[in-house]
Symmetry: C2
Subunit: 651 residues, 2 copies
């Protein structure tokens, strides 16, 4: 059974290698493209190296604590190391492929839409395939070495969570510090356009897309993927014995193959309609998974029940993604209202976006609540884990589509900076626009899957801690609920002010360069890109420490000092407000972004109008909400549950 | 026992009448003051009359539903009517006193600080005394007529909640529609100062202060006061029999007398330091209450335990208020940081305020959690209700201080509009500044007491519905938690967009008047104030319907269709996210407001600077958050629990 998963993992990794070779084979003839692409690659890899150097120390220390202080056993400590290493390797390979593919996409854009799309998607797919490949390899491998002991897998999952915490939070801070810094000084003060090579922070901004939206996003979904599989394996035996365990392994294997098929399909369609290709691949892999879930269910005594639970997760995943689009796409009413509110000024634009973000929580939360009720109805707590697995089994496809976005975005930046002709930039602009839509859907999916994963881990924690009921009338649970509900607010406040601090440093540096070297704005002098890259890198690594400690220490402290009931309340409270805040911030940010774009395209005044200025303020407010604070909450709620699950035996 | 409460209530009402007569005795010699004050009074009373006319229909229909459809008995339906009527009467008397006192304060300001302060506080104290007087009268009276049946009191409490819902939501929409409309056109577009009589919306703006901050706030705390007393009475018998019931009545009576003493003290000190007088009164009444709680506890078998629970509530109330000041006063770091962030632009100012608001949830929530743990430790679920009673027993004093603020604010507006000399305006400005501090503290107190009241009602609901445990692992509870957590987001989105819609209508009207009658800006023509008052009135009454329905129907629907466990989850989720969102919005709004003021006083550029423009945007964003959406959530969480408690026997 774990063998099936290992074989599928091997297939995914092999396909990733093929895709990687494909990318390398694509030529980069233009010297300017090669130079700029090279700077982005260097910056991105330098960041990752420094981040991993810090994390290596952290991971070894935590492994020691787990083994020696908490007495969790050597196997769990080793599994923890494996989880951390594999997540890091997945991030490294995925980002390396992305920073190779971005310049090749810019180059291929000279030959038309289809080859450019192929290059960008190829780049994104390596991240997707490595996430599922290495995630499944780790889970299958750890179980193979510790047969009959799924609890050892919690160590692996915690390792993945630790990396995700720092990659997502650090990546989010990196990308927005660079983005806000580049925009506020470059666009607003100096009046130069986006992606102008005269802006000293422009390379850091492009590096940020990779660091945040490729590596950060990948580590987030790596964690969700591993977390939901581990909790499903933990809950399976109690529900249906070895057979149910085998079902989970088989379902995960089928999901990987479905993703591989989907990715292969997108690659070979060679259609001119990028959006259609991506949608076809996504839906095909979902359909394949539904078929596999049905077929595998036939081998079980209670097959139809498990099938129904899995399908409720798949449906919820697709629905939550679509709902996100409804609130963040310029084609729908919400964004149009924000754009028109910007006409009365920045304050009304901000209020309209905030209220859109709040309103956008309604349906996704009801969908999730319905999925929980359905999944539980069919298979109890195991059903919730199965729904999460259903949502996440084809994450290889989802991450490929998600990571395509920043590659296309970078390609646009490179084309702009290297002075490509207008028709080339038109191609990259189109690919970028498709990427924006997929990014919004991907964000909804990340939150939805994080919520289900956190709830599945929560159920596993309750089992591991021997809690048969978590009674809200118990004052410890009630106090825990309140305190837990507060944590996502605290966490968001910390990450938002981290971005502000880092952005301020970036602003100072960009201003300094433009002031001290007037040749930069004149175009006769090359700005010091590396200095800006360095500022973002340092800031991200320094600023991720405090939120990271909050995420790890608060569940540990509450569990150890106030008991397992209070910890259960804490987890429930954090999950509830976390999901809501994350959806609100992601959608408000996305809606402001698209309101700005629709004004730029002519609605309500166009560039330079008062409405546009108001919309730029909205967009700048939304940036750290949607790309730093919101995604970081996904990690917070999963990691807190993971920490609780790991320390449950001690409580 | 209920007799002691009735006697105390009578004392409070008698004192209120004396205060009212005192106000009437103060002269208003200046004809301009009388004219402008008269317009404000007319507008305020017209609003209240129209709102009550709508509510009368609503209340009679609901009473009919309760009696005939839900079969709750004639006594409960009559108690419901009594609760609604007494809350309405308290609001009417309190607001009438406030709109009489505002012009007298403006007049008295000519004779110095002390007489002006005395007039303003006198005006506010009528609201405070009527809230506790009529609240206690109702509870004592209903219990006297239905001895041994505290459950009939839930009808009374629901009546109070219904009025509170519409007064708080409608009042919040009224005041901010007028305020935003007056500011955006008057200050920003036409460039005339605040409270300039040439602004057509200026009377509506001043009416709004009374409608929102006097009547709305009073009905909110009337609801909290009644709600916590009712839940304490409901839970008392199970905990300690008749003796405990008598303790609650006695404590409430002592609290009223403590408030009366405190108010009397503030009135007679005749100090020049308004802030010191108010603080002295507040602390004196708290100390008297502590003494009474100790003394009354001596009559009980478990007296020290009840005393400890009461004290935990009193302490939490004072602490939450102080913490609010920490995040919203210009003397502390948070506001200074926002003011300096405004220097980089509106976006950074907004982000800084948002993150300050989020951060400001941390300590109040931990204080509340600690109070719950302590109160429960001493007296179980009854302890939570006792803590709420401890917090709210001296609400007569708290409301008096709160309502003093808008009276002083109005007096400043009247002095400005009637062209009083600078030294008069200096007096009113000083009183207004003191009012701003007390308003921020009062907001923190309202939220904290709403949270404890909602939790006490929640515990009462669990008892009434026969739930001995509310298990989060039960999927209905989990789904309920998620859906409930969403409701404060939905509710906030609805109220914020109500304000936007209403403000837009106001903006159109003000622009129309200024355009069609150029004499207005020249000062030769009187604007049509009544038209603007009318627009706010209509908008408030129309816009309060949808959020009101959400608050009433969602618990009823979830309870009837998904069962009492799902409803319990819904209440818990709504309370947790409600408290957090309310604190965040109130404090972010207060912090932006004071950041703007500190910039106006010279920090970082002064009036007209870029930083000031950014701060004005922050303030405008914060206005509906702190004065409409945030306070409305207080009502939402209490009312949902009340509805649940009332329908519990049907589930």
């Amino acid at each position: 059974m774990e063998i099936s998963l290992l074989l599928a993992a091997a297939a995914a990794i092999a396909f990733a290698l093929l895709q990687r070779m494909d990318i390398q084979r694509m030529p980069v003839e233009d010297a300017r493209i090669r130079e700029i692409g090279g700077s982005i690659r260097e910056g991105a890899m330098a960041y990752l190296r420094r981040q991993y150097a810090v994390l290596a120390v952290f991971v070894v220390v935590v492994a020691g604590i787990l083994w020696l202080l908490l007495g969790l056993g050597r196997a769990a400590a080793l599994a923890f190391l494996a989880g951390a290493v594999l997540s890091a390797v997945a991030g490294f390979c995925g980002m390396r492929a992305a920073v190779s593919a971005n310049m090749r996409t810019a180059q291929a854009a000279g030959q038309g839409l289809a080859p450019a799309f192929r290059a960008a998607f190829c780049g994104g797919s390596v991240m997707g395939l490595m996430v599922v490949g290495l995630g499944a390899l780790g889970i299958g491998g750890v179980y193979l070495l510790n047969p009959g002991h799924p609890e050892v897998l919690t160590g692996f999952s915690l390792g993945a969570s630790s990396i995700a915490l720092f990659c997502r939070v650090g990546g989010g801070i990196y990308t927005k510090a660079a983005d806000v810094g580049a925009d506020l000084v470059g666009k607003v003060e100096a009046g130069i356009p986006e992606d102008d090579p005269r802006n000293p922070a422009v390379i850091a901004d492009n590096v940020g897309d990779n660091v945040g939206d490729v590596a950060g996003m990948g580590s987030d979904l790596f964690e969700s993927y591993v977390g939901c599989l581990v909790s499903a394996l933990l809950l399976s035996v109690a529900w249906g014995g070895e057979e149910a365990l085998a079902y989970v392994f088989g379902l995960a294997a089928a999901g990987i193959l479905a993703s591989v098929f989907g990715i292969f399909l997108v690659k070979t369609i060679r259609s001119e309609d990028a959006q259609l290709s991506l949608n076809t691949g996504t839906y095909l892999s979902a359909i394949l998974l539904v078929g596999a879930a049905f077929f595998l269910g036939g081998l079980l005594a209670e097959g139809l029940r498990t099938f129904a639970a899995v399908v409720s997760g798949i449906a919820a995943g697709l629905l939550v993604g679509r709902l996100t689009e409804h609130y963040t796409s310029h084609r729908y009413r919400a964004v149009k209202e924000i754009a028109s509110a910007c006409g009365t000024g920045a304050a009304t634009g901000i209020l309209s976006g905030l209220s859109c973000g709040m309103l956008s929580t309604v349906w996704p939360v009801l969908v999730l609540a319905e999925a929980i009720l359905a999944a539980y109805h069919f298979c109890g707590a195991f059903g919730i884990a199965l729904a999460a697995v259903g949502m996440l089994a084809t994450v290889g496809m989802v991450v490929s589509v998600d990571a395509y976005g920043p590659v296309a975005d970078n390609a646009g930046g490179i084309a702009e900076m290297s002075g490509q002709p207008a028709e080339v930039r038109a191609v990259t602009d189109h690919l970028d626009a498709v990427g924006n839509t997929t990014a919004a859907i991907g964000k909804g999916f990340s939150i939805g899957s994080a919520a289900l994963t956190a709830l599945a881990l929560f159920a596993s924690y309750a089992g591991a801690a021997g809690l048969t009921a978590i009674n809200i009338l118990d004052p410890r649970v009630m106090a825990g609920l309140l305190a837990g509900g507060m944590l996502p607010f605290l966490f968001s406040a910390l990450t938002i002010s981290s971005v502000s601090r880092a952005a301020n440093r970036m602003i100072d540096e960009v201003r300094r360069q433009l002031r001290e070297f007037p040749g930069i704005l004149a175009g006769s002098q090359r700005p010091d890109y590396a200095r800006c890259v360095d500022i973002s890198t340092q800031a991200a690594i320094r600023e991720m420490a405090l939120p990271g400690m909050v995420a790890i220490l608060s569940p540990a402290a509450v569990g150890l000092f106030f008991g397992k009931e209070a910890l259960a309340g804490l987890l429930a409270g954090a999950t509830v407000t976390g999901v809501l805040l994350a959806i609100m911030m992601a959608n408000a940010g996305g809606a402001w972004d698209n309101a700005k774009k629709s004004i730029e395209e002519g609605a309500g005044g166009g560039k330079g109008s008062q409405a546009h200025k108001a919309a730029v303020i909205g967009d700048t407010v939304g940036d750290p909400l949607k790309d730093t604070a919101g995604p970081s909450i996904n990690i917070l709620i999963k990691l807190m549950s993971m920490v609780a699950l790991v320390i449950a035996p001690l409580l």
